[in-house]
């Protein structure tokens, strides 16, 4: 047992306890604005932490960088500007909302360690372009690292558990880790590439059961240019389909991911496959709900699902809310910030609601 503990320690990472600088994500703020707001609310109101949300932040270039229209020299300096903003706020702990960004920040920092001339070039370029200076963060943690780190404290505040209220049994949860969280710099993730535990730790702590299925670690299929171009999207959907087919026999109650792209694709591709082929991956032709980890956390804390973004999922989430016994007002689902009813989305032909 002691030996096991010793080895497991090698798969841990240091996560700053407080005083964070938050960087919003292109995909997450677009597809899951409620998840970013929920993360900030959890940190500030549930955990009493300081986290700065600076309006001057911007993309890390990640989607452009990995689709190869942005050179690495440019990406390094864009990251350096973001670090400069963090320095200006008097902070040292950088928290990028996106898994792609998390990979990129680790890539530039590792590059600077191994190739000091790249760091010097980046400093010169930033100075020349903006007059700014910067220091490398003491700590880079993904928001899912931080939620994982405080999972026990959050459990004390939760109204619900990941348990079926009718059967009393744990919900079966598929956890999908974004590739760039653990596959590039495994030592920067909880559990590494072999045993990523960042989501499994939350699920197990909060009463659920993790589904271990054959294609658990396969990519969702975003593929950057493989999705951005309409002609290539067969690549993207084929990869998600492979995962859905692999997880289906285990009858998962929902999927949770820590990557904005994965959460979006695994939701939208279920719709597309249903409309193209009439195939769904649950027993009721409604699809498997897909949540972000912030949505999962907010749901269990008792936040109104329509205030944190459950209504903008294509696979409807009421089946999951009902299983847990979460109360919600159906009349409130399609109401906007001004209190007006916005009408309902069109119903899909094959994917049930």
């Amino acid at each position: 047992m002691e030996i096991k503990k010793h080895y497991w320690n090698e798969y841990q990472k240091e996560i700053a306890q407080d005083d964070y600088f938050y960087e919003r994500s292109c995909i997450r703020q677009t597809f899951f604005p409620g998840s970013e707001a929920t993360f900030l609310k959890i940190l500030r109101k549930e955990l009493g932490k300081k986290i700065v949300d600076d309006p001057r932040i911007h993309t890390c270039t990640g989607i452009g960088y990995h689709s190869d229209i942005v050179p690495f020299d440019t990406t390094q300096v864009i990251c350096a500007r973001l670090f400069s903003l963090m320095n200006g706020a008097g902070l040292k702990n950088y928290v990028p909302s996106c898994v792609t960004s998390f990979g990129i920040f680790n890539e530039v920092v590792e590059t600077w360690k191994h190739f000091p001339e790249e760091l010097e070039k980046t400093r010169e370029n930033l100075r020349k372009a903006t007059g700014r200076e910067f220091e490398i963060p003491d700590n880079i943690a993904h928001p899912s690292d931080i939620i994982y780190n405080f999972r026990k404290e959050l459990k004390q505040k939760m109204k619900y558990r990941l348990v079926n209220k009718e059967t009393g049994k744990p919900l079966k949860v598929v956890e999908h880790i974004g590739c760039h969280y653990s596959k590039i710099f495994s030592e920067q993730s909880i559990g590494g590439a072999e045993f990523p535990h960042v989501l499994a730790g939350m699920i197990e702590e909060w009463g659920g059961e993790v589904v271990d299925y054959p294609e658990r670690r396969h990519c969702c299929g975003f593929g950057f240019r493989q999705y951005l171009i309409m002609a290539n999207r067969g690549y993207s959907i084929a990869n998600s389909k492979k995962k859905f087919e692999s997880m289906k026999p285990y009858k998962p109650d929902f999927i949770v991911t820590n990557c904005p792209g994965c959460a979006m694709f695994m939701d939208k591709w279920q719709y597309t496959i249903a409309e193209m082929e009439g195939i769904t991956y649950d027993d009721y032709d409604k699809g498997i709900p897909v949540l972000t980890y912030e949505e999962m956390t907010g749901m269990l804390l008792g936040y109104n699902p329509w205030d944190i973004g459950f209504q903008i999922h294509q696979v409807q989430t009421e089946q999951l809310l009902d299983k847990i016994g979460i109360e919600y007002d159906p009349q409130d689902k399609y109401v906007g910030v001004s209190g007006i009813y916005l009408g309902e989305p069109e119903k899909p032909k094959n994917l049930g609601c």
Partner: protein
């Protein structure tokens, strides 16, 4: 240009030096690769061609469809027993292909023009790779009817979810301050980002002329854009 070896140009990129050190061609990168499962693609073979240092082989890669199949998931980096990263090698090959104009010789390479015109322009003009208004349901039918509802009611929905849609101040989907956009643009000018964008644009315009397709500053009424965005010859799979 004639005197400079392509291999030496690849070596100038730090990612190439980091990504390929004495590949022993074990093939584990190909075994784990999602792209190799979907496309006629073999990263092991690409590493072999590149480390031959043979310019003819490297040039063949730069004009090929092959280098555009990688999805950059980086699974190869996890598994390589020598710590290599074929996906980084691919990125460097793609960069050189765009700088030298080889990318327009392949169907998949020509697509870079559409990415430059969408994601590239978004970065330097709005500060993010994508925002809600840039994901038009007509270009993204896979997003489904809930996306269309969200797209049509963006401000009401985003702000209910704690965002700050197209307004000043912090929050999701806010307006990025003008001085930040200016600094992003200056960074692109100083570091070669603008030059690479211009290179993609320039070689694509030449190709549009050769293919007798209309080409203009907007993606509307732009036959070359429509062509590269939608064309799939279906000759890419195994």
């Amino acid at each position: 240009m004639d005197n400079i070896k392509l291999y030496d140009l690849l070596l100038k990129d730090v990612r190439f030096r980091e990504g390929l050190t004495a590949c022993m061609n074990c093939g584990i990168c190909t075994a784990i690769c999602p792209a190799a499962e979907f496309y006629n693609y073999d990263p092991r073979q690409i590493c072999n061609q590149v480390q031959s240092k043979d310019d003819e082989k490297i040039e063949a890669l730069l004009i090929s469809e092959t280098i555009w199949y990688c999805g950059q998931c980086m699974s190869c980096k996890t598994r390589c027993p020598r710590g290599n990263a074929p996906a980084l090698v691919i990125s460097v090959l793609r960069k050189l292909s765009q700088e030298l104009g080889y990318f327009t010789e392949s169907e998949k390479g020509r697509q870079q023009y559409a990415i430059n015109r969408t994601i590239g322009e978004n970065i330097v003009h709005i500060g993010y790779c994508v925002t809600v208004e840039k994901i038009d349901p007509d270009m993204h039918p896979e997003q489904g009817p809930v996306w269309k509802w969200y797209y049509d009611n963006a401000e009401e929905v985003v702000d209910r979810l704690g965002g700050n849609y197209k307004k000043d101040g912090p929050g999701a989907l806010r307006i990025i301050p003008k001085e930040s956009i200016t600094e992003i643009q200056k960074i692109f000018e100083v570091t070669g980002g603008a030059k690479l964008s211009d290179s993609i644009e320039h070689f694509s315009e030449d190709k549009a002329v050769e293919m007798d397709l209309s080409f203009n500053k907007s993606i509307e009424d732009n036959d070359y854009f429509s062509h590269v965005f939608t064309k799939n010859s279906n000759h890419h799979q195994k």
